[in-house]
């Protein structure tokens, strides 16, 4: 602690000089190579890489299930799958993508990797707990995928009672236990983040200087610790009802099926924010860096995350306008749902305003960030149709909903995930990927995405129900368009696997700060040392200390 290193963001690596230039620098990747050094690691960066590897696999499985569903829907009475198989496919797609990809993708990979680096800590507060959360996640994922691919679960990811508790024959119990374990994995991560963010910040790193990325993850963690136990317990009650015939939710046994929906959505609506808030936080970082500007209205963006986290708990009933809940409660929920839209709108406007008088560099992460803005605006605004009760009566549980939440979840979270992957890949691996291919691929993803999901808005408005295996022929044109788009989207998702793996072997060395970004994580080497910082930095510079004008002067002077 005697040596004080100032985190000023000069773009130079802070580190002890290497005694011998011929021996490669020790970093977290090459510090040891044994399998056990990976499987028993307590280093947050290695755990992040473990997560990256595992979520990629689950994403591929979930994506394959989606591919089956879309292929089946090319024809009104498709014959690729039986109805039972079809139901199992979309359930597998939903459960895997939500519980094993979206809920964990950004927090567990990039949150784990970056939060200690960004706040100037050596590691997360509880490294062993962190490793435990990965194991819980892997057990849950393996169990869930096995149950769904080999046993079959056909109740949808929502597990509505009494279908899930009394009537379905599939491996619902195992799938629920998997979701339960996955819940505990994310609780462990969230507890870790909260303790880390509160107590492990480097000297000088006040809440005002905290990157918006960290703010977003803090809000997410609060939602996780408040919401996840509720759904875990609720699902456990479903298992009890299923196994022992205990009537918590089944009307035949004296229970109330709508109670399940209340408790399920009490978590599962905030879960949407668990998925999208980390996406927001990634976008804040990318836009600030590639506009060379401090985020416009830093405090508004930070507090809007907390507002979303708070209000997000009070709107679950908008999933239940037609579920026979009381009309009066529906009214309350509708009002609150409109209110929760406002903080998100404020964020979008602030991001746009950030580019004003900036120096916009259209690198591949920035292209993902911009397409995020476009897609999220559509996703967010179409939420208004569903917050409004009168239109929701017509649109709920149709393809309109499907399109809406895919715009938020895929257009939002997955795009942000891709942006984050491209932005921090050089930091995580020390290598640069082929930038041009990445940029064109970002465009392909954007086009494929819109082609997939815009037609679904129309199909939904026309009244096509979701989760339909056989459907009336008049919806076929929209389904064909959508399937075509999904092919393009799938292609756009596979290409990065190749060029990112290629970059590991052949990519150029990235150097500590290839993007010229600010923030403590860019002041470490790429890849960072096992213990992140040789000395805990003392932060004096303000957050996002960019100067677009000076940088442009330098850049244009050189030309």
């Amino acid at each position: 602690m005697s040596d004080v290193i100032i985190g000023t963001g000069k773009g130079t690596a802070v580190g002890a000089p290497q005694p011998d230039p011929n021996t490669p620098r020790v970093n977290y990747l090459n510090v040891s190579h044994t399998l056990s050094s990976w499987l028993l690691t307590k280093d947050h960066k290695r755990i992040a890489m473990l997560y990256l590897f595992s979520i990629s696999i689950f994403f591929a499985v979930g994506g394959a299930a989606a591919g089956m569903v879309r292929a089946e829907l090319m024809f009104p009475r498709g014959s690729l799958l039986q109805s039972e198989g079809y139901n199992r496919m979309f359930t597998a797609h939903g459960v895997i993508m939500i519980f094993f990809f979206l809920l964990v993708a950004i927090p567990a990979v990039f949150g784990n990797f970056l939060i200690p680096l960004m706040i100037g800590a050596r590691d997360l507060a509880f490294p062993r707990l962190n490793l435990l959360s990965w194991y819980l996640y892997m057990i849950a994922g393996t169990l869930g995928v096995t149950a769904m691919l080999f046993g079959g679960v056909d109740v949808g990811w929502t597990f509505y009672t009494p279908l899930s508790s009394m009537y379905s024959n599939g491996q619902v119990t195992i799938a629920i236990l998997a979701a339960f374990l996955a819940g505990f994995s994310s609780i462990a991560t969230a507890v870790n983040f909260i303790a880390t963010i509160h107590k492990m910040r480097a000297p000088g790193m006040t809440w005002d200087k905290l990157p918006l990325y960290v703010w977003g993850h803090y809000a997410t963690s609060v939602i996780i610790i408040l919401g996840t136990p509720v759904v875990a317990m609720t699902l456990l009650l479903v298992v009890l009802e299923r196994t022992f015939g205990i009537g918590f939710f089944s009307p035949e046994l004296g229970g109330d099926p709508v109670l399940f929906q209340h408790m399920f959505w009490f978590y599962s609506h905030p879960a949407v924010y668990i998925m999208i808030l980390p996406g927001f936080s990634v976008i804040s970082e990318i836009i600030a860096c590639f506009s060379r500007k401090k985020i416009f209205g830093y405090h508004f963006v930070a507090y809007s995350s907390m507002a979303i986290a708070g209000l997000g708990f009070l709107v679950w009933g908008h999933h239940m306008y037609v579920s026979s809940q009381s009309m009066y409660q529906g009214t309350v929920f509708s009002l609150l749902s409109f209110l929760v839209a406002i903080p998100s709108a404020v964020k979008v406007f602030n991001w746009c305003a950030t580019m004003y008088k900036g120096s916009v560099w259209l690198a591949s992460p920035m292209i993902y960030a911009i397409s995020f803005l476009g897609l999220f605006v559509i996703g967010g605004l179409t939420g208004m149709y569903l917050a409004a009760m009168a239109t929701d009566v017509h649109l709920t549980a149709t393809y309109f909903i499907v399109a809406h939440f895919h715009y938020v979840m895929v257009g939002g979270t997955v795009t942000a995930f891709m942006g984050a992957l491209h932005f921090w890949w050089p930091k995580m691996t020390g290598k640069m990927y082929p930038e041009n291919i990445a940029r064109y691929n970002a465009l392909i993803v954007f086009i494929g995405f819109n082609l997939t999901f815009l037609p679904q808005f129309v199909a939904g408005y026309l009244g096509m129900p979701r989760r339909y295996h056989y459907y009336p022929a008049e919806y076929q044109p929209w389904m064909i368009l959508s399937t075509t788009g999904s092919t393009v989207l799938g292609f756009g998702m596979i290409v990065p696997v190749f060029y990112l793996l290629w970059s590991l072997k052949k990519g150029k060395d990235a150097g500590p700060n290839p993007w010229g970004a600010k923030g403590l994580e860019w002041e470490t080497e790429s890849p960072p040392d096992p213990h992140n910082f040789h000395h805990i930095p003392v932060v004096t510079a303000p957050v996002y200390d960019y100067d677009a004008e000076a940088e442009e002067r330098e850049l244009q002077g050189e030309n």
Binding site: S168, S324, S334, G374, M384, A390, G463, P465
Partner: protein, 331 residues
């Protein structure tokens, strides 16, 4: 549905359709406007302030309270306007009309069973008259279903254990999709049907021909209920007058029941149903639990319960003394 290959608009066949569509288009206009505004702003900014391009970048703004306030409150006001509009409409859609043609819907895996009050039964088809409100009282026999008619912009869940209701006024004779819109098991996507909207004249004719389906004279639900009532000898205890074994069922509906614990409840259809399948859930004051519960429970199905309720209804109703504590103006 229209015959054109690409349609952008579902058919409008109920009085709600026009209203919902108006709201839908207003939100659509807002969505397109804001999406375009954000998109064009981004394109302009990206183009103007592209890296390496000469532009005025002096004095960048990082905070501006007024601008933040403007773009917080403008969407807020718009959102609240839409909220008021849509909520008004929704309350209208959820307030059952006093006078309507009433049909009963029973959902079961994977079919719709529909009973008309005069005894006509239909499977996966619902025949209703155009131009008058139609109220559906719905219940499920197993899992949750949703009764959804896109052309009417109407949808409501059909829940086991409890009656739910929805209403609409069909405006255009024709035949429209019924979808089950809540995942209900393997053949969920085949739990579909048709609403046949007939002109009042055709509907009267249809009723006269007993729906063209039954050769024998259909019993009304109440008559069917009466028969069941007699078969099961309910009248032994539940006669015209209260006996010591059981209360009379005459003028039962709508009367305020006082229970052994002192709680009270206006007897509604849900209460009647509960009393049939679970007589001891709430015992009326002055009586004890003597109803042979194991005889009746599980022996009558939803259809028969419905019939008995109709029979009890035909025995007379009481207008609730002090109406429900609903806020004024909503009725």
């Amino acid at each position: 549905m229209g015959n054109s290959w690409l349609t952008f608009q579902p058919e409008k066949a109920s009085s709600f359709a026009g209203q919902v569509d108006a709201l839908f288009y207003v939100i659509t206009a807002l969505t397109i406007f804001f999406t375009a505004a954000v998109g064009i702003t981004i394109l302009i900014l990206v183009n103007k302030y592209k890296r390496g391009k000469k532009a005025d970048r002096s004095n960048p703004v990082h905070d501006h309270q007024l601008i933040e306030a403007i773009w917080t409150f403008t969407p807020l006001v718009m959102a609240l306007a839409i909220f008021v509009w849509s909520t008004n409409m929704y309350i209208h859609m959820r307030t059952m009309p006093k006078h309507s043609y009433e049909a009963y819907v029973i959902g079961k895996q994977w079919m719709w069973h529909i009973q008309h009050p005069n005894g006509i039964r239909e499977n996966n088809e619902l025949t209703v008259p155009a131009g008058q409100p139609v109220k559906l009282t719905m219940i499920s026999q197993d899992v949750i279903h949703a009764f959804y008619v896109p052309a009417f912009r109407s949808q409501y869940h059909v829940v086991p254990g409890r009656y739910t209701s929805m209403w609409f006024t069909p405006t255009k004779p024709g035949s429209y999709h019924i979808f089950c819109n809540m995942l209900c098991g393997t053949q969920h996507s085949e739990m579909v049907g048709k609403v046949n909207v007939l002109s009042p004249k055709d509907f009267a004719a249809w009723l006269d021909k007993s729906g063209n389906r039954f050769t024998e004279t259909p019993k009304t639900l109440a008559q069917a209920g009466e028969q069941l009532f007699n078969d099961m000898r309910c009248g032994t205890c539940h006669g015209v007058e209260n006996t010591e074994r059981g209360p009379s069922l005459h003028n039962l509906l709508g009367s305020t029941r006082v229970f052994t614990n002192g709680a009270t409840q206006v007897a509604d259809e849900d209460y009647l149903r509960e009393s049939m399948i679970d007589p001891f859930a709430r015992i009326t004051k002055g009586y004890s639990n003597t109803m042979p519960v194991y005889v009746y429970k599980k022996q009558i199905n939803e259809e028969q319960i419905r019939n008995i309720i109709e029979y009890i209804k035909s025995l007379g109703t009481t207008k609730p003394a002090s109406s429900q504590p609903a806020p004024a103006g909503l009725r």
